[in-house]
């Protein structure tokens, strides 16, 4: 499964429900695309984000982190991960960030 370069635009703490950004190099989240069913998260797929530095440390002034992103499972809709696409990521029912695919 190919990993794509992505920009992760973190939602404000009031939306994420925490002031802390992930302090890990690997972060798993549920993806939500525009074409997902209204019944989402039923039918959602997990994405894996890999960072070269933990988001808490690499956050830039503009409020985003750079990562590589891929779906965690082979059966996921990999064709959604193309340059220019964006989707939201969630921890359970809580939105935490928007992800822009860069390549």
């Amino acid at each position: 499964m190919r990993a794509h370069t992505a920009r992760v635009r973190w939602r404000p703490p009031s939306e994420r429900g925490t002031a802390q950004l992930p302090a890990t190099l690997r972060y798993l989240a549920l993806s939500r695309f525009a074409e997902d069913s209204p019944t989402w998260p039923d039918g959602a797929w997990t994405v894996e984000l890999s960072f070269t530095e933990p988001p808490a440390e690499q956050l830039c002034d503009e409020g985003y982190s750079m990562a590589s992103v891929r779906f965690l499972f082979d059966d996921a809709p990999h064709d959604r991960l193309v340059r220019g696409r964006s989707f939201a990521i969630y921890e359970g029912p809580t939105v935490v960030a928007d992800v822009d695919i860069m390549d």
């Binding site: 690997r26 039918g43 359970g92």
Partner: protein, 159 residues
């Protein structure tokens, strides 16, 4: 993508829990996850009935999280939870094993038993990753959870 699970047609809002009590324990041991004030949508494995008031979930973990649970006896957020502030749980051993296997050898399937009233903040997510029903538990809901290892996933790599 079509909704395939028990939450099809429902909004992914945080759920509340009700457990029918009294009578002859007609619904003892059954836990209903109710979105808002609508109809029951799911039953999670329960043990012991209404008297004990516990609910059982399963979770597949990688080697690092398995080691952390063995060392601390607790489920923790953060580094051993892929940066998450809570845990994803499921209702069957098979689904837990499928999720745990993605983390490689050395993982485990954990049986997680929590007081029924602690599930008030647990969210039913529906079918995730094409594997099975998933639930999101904020880490606070898992304080005091009873954790049992019920299965090893693969063999740990040897040097």
């Amino acid at each position: 993508m079509q909704g395939r699970g028990l939450l099809a047609g429902m909004n992914p809002e945080r759920v509340s829990i009700t457990e029918k009590e009294g009578g002859a324990g007609f619904l003892a041991g059954r836990l209903f996850l109710v979105a808002g004030a609508t109809a029951p949508v799911s039953r999670v494995a329960s043990s012991g009935g209404a008297a004990s008031g516990t609910t059982t979930f399963y979770r597949g973990v990688g080697a690092a999280e398995a080691a952390d649970v063995a060392a601390t006896g607790t489920l923790r957020a953060g580094a051993v939870a892929a940066g998450n502030t809570g845990k994803y749980l499921t209702s069957t051993i098979e689904a837990a094993e499928a999720w745990g296997a993605v983390h490689g050898a050395g993982g485990q399937v954990l049986k997680i038993t929590i007081p029924a009233d602690a599930t008030a903040t647990v969210s039913a997510l529906g079918r995730i990753d094409g594997i099975g029903q998933a639930y999101w538990a904020p880490i606070e809901a898992l304080h005091g959870a009873k954790i049992d290892v019920i299965k090893n996933i693969g063999a740990a790599a040897t040097p």
